[in-house]
Every structure is written in structure tokens, then in C-alpha cells.
């Protein structure tokens, strides 16, 4: 009488081979290629919890151009996932987007869109890939149906057409036996397959921008590479812009065009991939790079760890948020917000490299610079 309710996942071998093209006509954008697709201006998001107002994101600015891959890197809790969700206008109670924040998608403010515009924007113009596909997909709905839902919301496809398109998409993202898989439930997929299905769902309506929130964190390293390859193809073939949220420098190494380093709800350093890997300026970036094991290091070299924990964002420090964990902490760091220093790149390589740090303040004495030079982690050679 006591029948057990057993969950039986059917894990299958990962298929390495990747299917056909995303679609017949690659995504074409009109207008000025230098005009950014997405602009995030002075974004501030708070969560009202029992302990008080947690200031998750504290004034973040960046933009994404057409066909560009932007990586947002930071520890957990630094506000990068909240930023991603805000771009999709997915912040809900108890989270609040503060006055004065702007998210412009093709010049239109996402935060003041009507319900109808928002419905077109989400899924249609902008797709999102979540970290854990097992919880992000509805556990009681067939995978195919969930992809179909997206297609049916944004186009006037009939059920039959939507089904064919969904199967095609599953095939494109490299899921073998797409027709069978279409009828299965998320729990019958392996982790990598689920993430592929998630990607198929996010890109079903050929969005101009895809936000990938830690898409590979829950996966094996080999499968991580396949998923990243899949995303890169999405950009290369369709010209889709991608915002990649991650805490792993290894993931972005061969992938991102621009990198933004976030700490405690603020951007501490930004620049092109080369600039961040070969010429990092902020002590936090050094610390992050120093914490990644490298093949070219000598055997006995110790990995650098960052001591302490990120600051409590209920009462953020008035000075530099990283000051208390920084090996180069100065008196001023604890008292005042550091200035943003631009680092001119060489010729066309300049992607607006800048860091927010007192070390580069105009009035900083020379010996400070010297000590900084001595301590800095040299470059990301070997990362690429």
C-alpha cells in the first residue's frame, strides 16, 4: 500500500556536437552601430528586509553595443544578479528600483514601459538565461511547451508552427532527438541539456540582447565550455549582444569583449578584456586575478586569498567599499568615496578603461604609486 513517490531522472550522455544555424536570416540592426543597444544609467536598487534597507546596487553605469559581449564579474552578493534582473524589469517586492535610475533599451526606458511594451521587451527584444535551469523551468510542464509559450506570446504562430520551431531550436542548441526531448519534463534532462533548453527558450524569439546570469555555474567544466561556445556562436552568427554575469574569470577569459568588475553594488573597474587581464588597476581586480590558479606559475607559488568578507550593505561604508580588505588601504579610503580614474589605452584599443581607487587620485603622493606598482599582480598572461 505504501507506494513510494520516486523521482527518476533520466540522465543521458552529453552531446558535444552542435546543430544547425540559429536561423535563416541573421539579426540585422538598423541605425548607428555606435549607438549603444542598452544603456544603464545611475542604477540603484534596494531591498527592504527585516534588518533594514539593503542597498544591493549603488549607482551602476554601463552600456552594451550591438553584437557586443559584456561580462559582469564579482563575488556573490555584489549586486550583479540584481542588476541583471533589473534590466529585465524583474525586480519585485521587497526590492525597489530607486528614483533616478534609468535603463535605456534602444533609447527607451525599460523601467517606465507599459505592461504591453514590457511584454514585448521581455522575451521578444531581450532574453534571459538563468543560473539553475532545474528551478528556472517549470518542473511540471513539458520542456517543449515552455519554449512554445515564448513563441506564442511574441508571434502569431499557430500551435503547429510553434512546435516545429521549438523542435528546431532544441536541435540548434545541440539537443539530440529533439522531437523526443520536446515531450519530456525538465527533470528528465541532464544539467547541461537543461541549460541548453533554457538557452533555446531565451533565444526563441531572436532577441537583440541576451542576459546570461551565471549560465555555467551549476555545470561541469567540460559542459561549461560547450555552453560558452554556444553563446559565442549566438553572437557571431546572429549579432546578438550578450551580458554575461559570472563570478569566474576563467569563464570570460576567451569570451568577453568588455569586462565590468563589481564590488558591493558598485563598479570598481571596467575596460576591455585585454585591459582587465593585462593591465588591471584596482586592487580588487588584482585580488580576484590572483585568486585564480594558473598553469604558468611556479610550483610553490601560493594562491592569493582575499581576507575578510564584503561589507554589510545595510550600512555601506562611507569610503571605498573594498578598503577594509585592501592591502593598500589608506586613511582616505576609509573616509571618502574614491574618484574614478580613466586610463587612456593605446589607439583604438581604448574601451574606456577606468578604475575607482584612491591610488590613482591626482593628489596621491608618488610613494603610494610605487608601493602599488610593487604589489600589483602582473597581468593575465596565461589566462587566454
Amino acid at each position: 500500500m505504501a507506494e513510494e513517490k520516486v523521482m527518476t531522472p533520466q540522465v543521458e550522455e552529453e552531446a558535444v556536437e552542435i546543430g544547425k544555424n540559429w536561423k535563416a536570416n541573421p539579426h540585422k540592426w538598423t541605425g548607428d552601430p555606435n549607438q549603444p543597444l542598452l544603456e544603464v544609467k545611475n542604477l540603484r536598487v534596494s531591498y527592504h528586509t527585516y534588518a533594514g534597507e539593503v542597498q544591493s546596487v549603488r549607482g551602476v553605469n554601463f552600456d552594451v553595443k550591438h553584437g557586443e559581449i559584456l561580462a559582469v564579474i564579482g563575488e556573490s552578493g555584489c549586486g550583479k544578479s540584481v542588476t541583471a534582473r533589473t534590466i529585465m524589469s524583474l525586480i519585485r517586492h521587497p526590492g525597489v528600483v530607486k528614483e533616478g535610475s534609468q535603463i535605456l533599451f534602444e533609447g527607451k526606458d525599460v523601467l517606465s514601459m507599459s505592461k504591453k511594451e514590457l511584454s514585448q521587451y521581455r522575451g521578444g527584444d531581450c532574453g534571459m538565461i538563468f543560473q539553475d535551469a532545474l528551478v528556472a523551468l517549470d518542473p511540471t510542464m513539458r520542456v517543449g511547451k515552455q519554449i512554445m509559450e515564448n513563441l506564442r506570446i511574441h508571434s502569431k504562430m499557430t500551435k503547429k508552427e510553434a512546435k516545429e520551431e521549438a523542435i528546431r531550436l532544441l536541435d540548434v542548441v545541440g539537443i539530440p532527438n529533439a522531437e523526443t526531448r520536446f515531450r519530456q519534463y525538465p527533470f528528465e534532462f541532464s544539467g547541461g541539456m537543461r541549460q541548453r533548453a533554457m538557452i533555446a527558450m531565451a533565444v526563441a524569439c531572436q532577441p537583440k540582447l541576451v542576459i546570461a546570469d551565471e549560465p555555467t555555474t551549476a555545470l561541469d567544466v567540460t559542459i561549461q565550455a560547450q555552453i560558452m561556445e554556444l553563446l559565442k556562436r549566438l553572437r557571431d552568427e546572429d549579432g546578438t549582444s550578450i551580458i554575461l554575469i559570472t563570478h569566474d574569470f576563467g569563464v570570460v577569459a576567451g569570451f568577453a569583449d568588455k569586462i565590468v568588475v563589481m564590488y558591493a553594488g558598485q563598479i570598481v573597474e571596467r575596460g576591455s578584456r585585454k585591459e582587465i587581464f593585462y593591465n588591471p588597476q584596482h586592487p580588487y581586480t588584482w585580488a580576484l586575478l590572483g585568486a585564480v590558479p594558473r598553469l604558468d606559475w611556479e610550483n610553490k607559488q601560493m594562491l592569493r586569498t582575499i581576507r575578510g568578507t564584503p561589507p554589510d550593505l545595510v550600512a555601506p561604508p562611507k569610503g571605498c567599499p573594498f578598503a577594509r580588505r585592501c592591502e593598500l588601504c589608506m586613511n582616505v579610503c576609509l573616509e571618502e568615496m574614491p574618484p574614478v580614474k580613466e586610463f587612456p589605452g593605446e589607439g583604438p584599443e581604448n574601451h574606456g578603461h577606468s578604475a575607482m581607487c584612491w591610488l590613482y587620485a591626482d593628489d596621491a603622493p608618488a610613494e603610494v604609486r610605487e608601493k602599488a606598482e610593487a604589489l600589483r599582480v602582473k597581468g593575465g598572461e596565461g589566462h587566454e
Binding site: G308, P311, R325, L328, C329, M330, N331, L334
Partner: protein, 311 residues
């Protein structure tokens, strides 16, 4: 963290490096509150629950002191004072046999309360023992014991109670027995499931891997993880036993005169309700208040003990 000890006195100190060790000197670590202290703290924050806890205590105290306060005889039939309305002599009036309703209500409440507490206690003890024996022995013993549980729980509670009362007769002991026999199966399943779950859990595995003793595992993992559940089980068992007891007594199957509880008073009240609604209302209100307080306090306990809600 933001209470900075360093302040800049001279402008040339601005860019002086801070001594690394001083940065961690004043680091505040959040005070570590234990599970039980935290649960108690959260329970106390719940104003409604505190109120009903006081109501519950008052009800219990009154069920003991009520008869003493009024000093009335609640047993002897008094032909002259039948069906009296509330007055200075009989604060809540009298019943159809002229007995003081105020006193009778508190005594009836006491009976219902004692039966509920004892039956719920028996349910918990038997359920725990049975459940843990099932889980520990396993195999065929487990199968057979589980089958017994299934047979018992396939008969609706109230039906089984009536059956047992027919077989064993009426009275306190028989009623207690009948109520306990029907209710422990749920507890037994709960305990068995909990033990099996914990045995499989990774932290128990970790404790084993680190060489912790069996005793350590029982004290540090099994008990704290099960105790909360058992307290909740008790909080839920008491109202349900009160429900069953009053229903049975109302049907004339539970207690027989001269024994009485709130259930028998309901039965009596119904027969005269059109003329003397007070005789029905008084036990109704007391009964509802009693169960309501148990439920509110039980709910608050659940919220306070649920580790998921801990922040």
C-alpha cells in the same frame, strides 16, 4: 563596519597607509544565537500568540480555581433552581437539573483538557517508540509494523473510537485508550520518516565520517531536528483530540453521567437550546476559546521553530 576609528587629522595623513591589523580589530561578528533562544525570541515577538498564550494559561488556571471561587456544588441535582438565568447567586445560571453552570463549565473544561493532554501525550510517546522501532529495525519487522499502521489508519478515526468504546465500555480510561489508539499512527509515520531521512542526510554522514559516536548523532542531530516537529505534532494533536472527545461525548458514546465534559454539556444544551440558549452558549464559547488558543499558540510555535524562516 562603518564606525571608523581612523579619522584624518592632518591633510598629509590622508594618503598614509593604514595598519592592516587595525582594520580587523573592530570587526563585528554577529552574535551567535542558539536554535532554542532564537525560537523563543521569535515566539515572544508574536503579540497575538502571546495574548492567546495568556488566555490559555487563564483557562487552565480557571479550570482549577473556578469551582473553588464559586464554591458551588456541581453534582447534586437541585429541583428548585432548574434552568435559572444568570443571576447573582448563579453567575451563569443553572442547567436543567438545577446545577450551577459556572462551576460545571470549568469542571467540564478541566475534564476535556486533561483528556486532551493525556491522550496527546500517549499519542506522542507511543508514536515515537513505534516509529523509531520501525526505522531502526527495518526489514520485515518494519514491513509488518507498517502494515498494522495502515490497517489502523484506514478506519476513520471517529468510527474506530466508537468501535473501541463499544467493546471496552464508557469511562475515562476507556475514552483515553480509544482516543490514543486512533491517533498515534500519524506520529509513528512522522518519526519513522524523519529518522530515515536523517539517516540518509549528508550532515549525519559527515558526522559519521568525522568519527562522531552514535550517542552524539542522536543528541546533536536527531533530537534537535525531531523535537521541533514533535512539539508541533503535540500542538496539533491537542485540538484534534478535543474535537474527537467532544463529538463522542455529544453522541452519548464517550463519557456517561455522572461523568461529564464540555461535550456532554453541549448535548444537554442542544436539547434545551430554544428555551435556555445560555446552557448551550457557555460550553460552546469555552470550547472554541480553548481550541483557538491552542491553535494560535501552535501556529506561532511552528513559525518560531521553522528553521527555514530563520534569518
Amino acid at each position: 563596519m562603518n564606525t571608523d576609528t581612523v579619522s584624518i587629522k592632518k591633510p598629509e595623513d590622508r594618503f598614509a597607509f593604514v595598519d592592516q591589523d587595525s582594520l580587523y580589530a573592530d570587526e563585528i561578528t554577529r552574535k551567535n544565537i542558539g536554535f532554542w533562544a532564537d525560537a523563543a525570541r521569535r515566539f515572544k515577538q508574536n503579540k497575538v500568540a502571546m495574548f492567546f498564550l495568556i488566555v490559555l494559561v487563564l483557562l487552565i488556571v480557571m479550570s482549577l480555581l473556578g469551582p473553588v471561587i464559586s464554591g458551588k456544588d456541581y453534582i447534586t441535582i437541585n429541583g428548585q433552581d432548574k434552568n435559572m438565568a444568570p443571576c447573582s447567586q448563579y453567575w451563569l445560571g443553572t442547567d436543567n437539573m438545577g446545577r450551577d453552570l459556572f462551576t460545571r463549565s470549568w469542571v467540564g473544561l478541566r475534564t476535556s483538557l486533561v483528556i486532551a493532554l493525556v491522550a496527546a501525550g500517549i499519542q506522542l510517546v507511543v508514536g515515537c517508540l513505534y516509529g523509531s522501532i520501525m526505522a531502526t529495525l527495518g526489514g520485515i519487522v518494519d514491513d509488518v509494523m507498517m502494515r498494522i499502521v495502515e490497517v489502523i489508519s484506514s478506519i476513520p478515526n471517529l468510527i474506530l473510537c466508537t468501535l473501541l468504546l463499544v467493546v471496552f465500555g464508557n469511562g475515562y480510561v476507556q475514552l483515553l485508550f480509544a482516543l490514543s489508539v486512533t491517533s498515534w499512527t500519524g506520529t509513528a509515520r512522522l518519526v519513522r520518516g524523519q529518522i530515515l531521512k536523517l539517516r540518509e542526510s549528508e550532515y549525519v554522514l559527515a558526522s559519521k565520517a568525522m568519527g562522531g559516536s552514535n550517542m552524539h548523532r542522536i543528541l546533536k542531530h536527531l533530537l534537535p531536528n525531531t523535537l521541533g516537529l514533535l512539539i508541533l505534532e503535540l500542538a496539533q494533536a491537542i485540538p484534534s483530540v478535543i474535537f474527537s472527545e467532544t463529538s463522542l461525548s455529544f453522541l452519548g458514546i464517550g463519557l456517561m453521567p455522572p461523568n461529564f465534559s464540555l461535550g456532554t454539556m453541549l448535548q444537554q444544551g442542544q436539547s434545551t437550546m430554544n428555551f435556555y440558549p445560555f446552557q448551550l452558549l457557555v460550553p460552546c464559547v469555552l470550547l472554541s476559546l480553548l481550541v483557538l488558543s491552542f491553535n494560535v499558540v501552535g501556529d506561532a510555535l511552528r513559525d518560531a521553530l521553522d528553521p527555514q524562516l530563520r534569518n
